[in-house]
């Protein structure tokens, strides 16, 4: 079972992207959960969402305390929130950042494996908005392969209808541009 914690800000679509990954996993015949951190949802406030994907039935409803994967949608969050809290020792942190690896490690004190992509730029160029949730799904796919690209694209199609093409483009570009460290 893979456990994921997403960090975003209210309105950035962290919950939506968690749901899309779970739906894609379930469409593949596997088992998955996606759920929000259940707080009052306020635009701009830091929020978390959780995903579990597994090949066998998932028998827990705890929050995710020791994630294998942490994904951060908002580039300003790692300086405010300890995003690597509880991260599994072989875990990975996926960041939306324009910074270089050495700068990221120094600025945020991260010593785990990292995946980095400048999702703000991609989202602004392709979607015309700095909403990075679908762009970051590309980074998640490249860094972890937690679900298949096709099933995730299918989930995007159903959620976004005619808007899905641009979101899929943003996701694909993130797959190309994501840098994964050791």
């Amino acid at each position: 079972m893979k456990e994921v914690r997403l960090h975003g800000r209210g309105g950035q679509g962290a919950v939506t992207s968690a749901e899309l990954v779970a739906i894609a996993g379930i469409d593949e015949g596997r088992f998955a959960q996606a759920f929000p951190s259940f707080g009052p949802e306020r635009r701009g406030a830091p929020v978390t969402a959780f995903i579990r994907v597994s090949d066998s039935p998932i028998r827990t409803r705890e929050k995710v305390y020791c994630p294998d994967i942490v994904m951060v949608l908002d580039s300003s969050l790692p300086s405010l929130v300890k995003v690597s809290e509880g991260l599994h020792k072989d875990g990975i942190v996926i960041l939306n950042t324009h910074m270089k690896e050495s700068e990221v490690r120094r600025a945020f004190g991260l010593d785990s494996k990292l995946a980095m992509v400048d999702a703000n730029t991609i989202a602004r160029e392709i979607l015309g908005l700095p909403i990075t949730n679908t762009t970051m799904l590309g980074a998640l796919l490249k860094a972890t392969g937690i679900v298949g690209k096709k099933s995730l694209e299918h989930a995007l199609d159903r959620r976004f209808g005619r808007l899905s093409e641009k979101n899929k483009d943003a996701m694909r570009r993130a797959i190309e541009e994501t840098i994964i460290t050791k």
């Binding site: 968690a18 749901e19 779970a22 739906i23 894609a24 996993g25 379930i26 469409d27 088992f31 998955a32 959960q33 996606a34 759920f35 929000p36 259940f38 009052p40 998932i58 028998r59 827990t60 409803r61 705890e62 929050k63 305390y65 989930a155």
Partner: protein, 392 residues
């Protein structure tokens, strides 16, 4: 054909109501029930189901409206949570003795004060004695299946009682997970149209719910109680036929690794799945722990529970409600009463956990088992303990 999809549990439950071909939905929005009634208002507006959605002014109005529409012979649904359930309270006692088969989803949430939108069972336990059939779902599939079962049982002429399906707020209601949705044809096979024995009809006037003078009141209350107790037969039959058609068998209580267990956790609702994982963890460490999950809360399935748990030495009963000043939590009290002076019955310890959305974890279940084992050797002063409370 049934279709397995990833869907939010609230939406799956609302889809069950749609597939039940409901006639009237009267509801007022309240967190965390909102997604259920939002979705139903959408499907009614889209013409996906031929129903009236009555956007009432309050939960008091919602339940009043439900009583009226059910009395007129309409298949009736509502849903609420927490303070909304309390605002309904005055009317909640009425459809039972009036034998009105309203179906309600209660999305369980804590009560004020302090204000909390998060999950526990204080709302439903405060309304325990309203005289409805009450079931608790563990997961999204059950939320869907038990909702269809509720219409089937409530409207059966041998029952004619209101029925509620409880799902835990947020920790179940807001989770996207895999649910196998039945098709319309499949649901139609299981759920016949609602044909009440009596209904309000201006062409054949009858009186419903008149005054009960002292000469008849006791008889009316006893008749309601007898009907509620007798409903168990139909509840079981409803589950049996569901299993025959769709392959999923439900029982009033379910056991997990309980056969040779010396200590059993007892749970109700969505924490049961976490408790299974806790049992697996404890078994790996060599502890003879098991689990009993209560699905049918009213009428309470006494014989089934005794059969499932009677051989264990110790029960660690988990309540999600702290009744101030009581001897213990409501599930704890129910089981103490059930086993009172029964020779060889288990020692019962009660843990109150997960109030107002506090996460109930595997570690906590392990702590409960450890404590209950110790208490069995040396009886504690109090019959219950609230787990996980910070002292500082």
């Amino acid at each position: 054909m049934a279709k397995r999809i990833g869907i939010e549990v609230s939406i799956a439950l609302a889809e069950a109501v749609k597939l039940a071909n409901v006639d009237v939905i009267a509801a007022y929005p309240i967190t965390p029930q909102t997604h259920i009634v939002e979705h139903l208002s959408e499907v009614v507006a889209n013409g996906e189901v031929d129903a009236e959605f009555v956007p009432v002014e309050s939960e008091h109005g919602a339940m009043s409206c439900c009583c009226g529409s059910s009395a007129a012979g309409a298949r009736t649904f509502t849903s609420t949570s927490s303070q909304g359930l309390l605002l309904m309270s005055e009317i909640l006692f009425i459809p039972g003795p009036m034998r009105l088969p309203i179906v309600m989803a209660v999305v369980d949430r804590a009560l004020s004060a302090p204000i909390s939108i998060w999950n526990d069972h204080q709302d439903i336990m405060s309304q325990r004695d309203v005289g409805w059939i009450q079931t608790f779902a563990e997961n999204g599939q059950e939320a869907f299946d038990l909702t269809l079962h509720a219409f089937r049982v409530a409207e059966d002429r041998r029952v004619s009682l209101p029925m509620m399906v409880n799902i835990d707020g947020f920790t179940l209601s807001h989770v996207v997970e895999a649910v196998e949705l039945l098709s319309q044809e499949e649901v139609d096979q299981y759920l016949p149209p609602f044909k009440p024995r009596y209904r309000l009809d201006p062409r054949k006037p009858i009186t419903m719910g008149p005054v009960g003078i002292p000469e008849v009141y006791s008889e009316a209350k006893v008749a309601h109680n007898e009907a509620l107790k007798a409903s168990k037969k139909v509840i079981l039959q409803g589950w049996k036929e569901f299993a025959d058609l769709f392959g999923r068998q439900y029982n009033p209580v379910e056991t997990y690794r309980s056969e040779d267990a010396e200590i059993l956790l007892v749970t109700m609702g969505s924490i049961s799945e976490t408790a299974m994982t806790a049992v697996d963890t404890m078994r790996e460490k060599g502890q003879k722990a098991g689990l009993v999950r209560i699905r049918l809360w009213r009428p309470f399935p006494g014989p089934e529970f005794r059969k499932a748990a009677g051989k264990a030495k110790v029960l660690a009963v988990v309540d999600r409600c702290l009744p101030p000043g009581a001897t213990c939590g409501p599930v704890g009290a129910e089981l103490r009463s059930l086993f009172y002076k029964v020779p060889g019955s288990p020692k019962i310890f009660n843990f109150i956990a997960g109030l107002g959305g506090r996460d109930v974890t595997v570690e906590w279940f392990e702590e409960m088992v450890e404590k209950a084992t110790a208490f069995a050797k040396k009886r504690p002063k109090e019959l219950y303990e609230v787990i996980g409370v910070r002292e500082k």
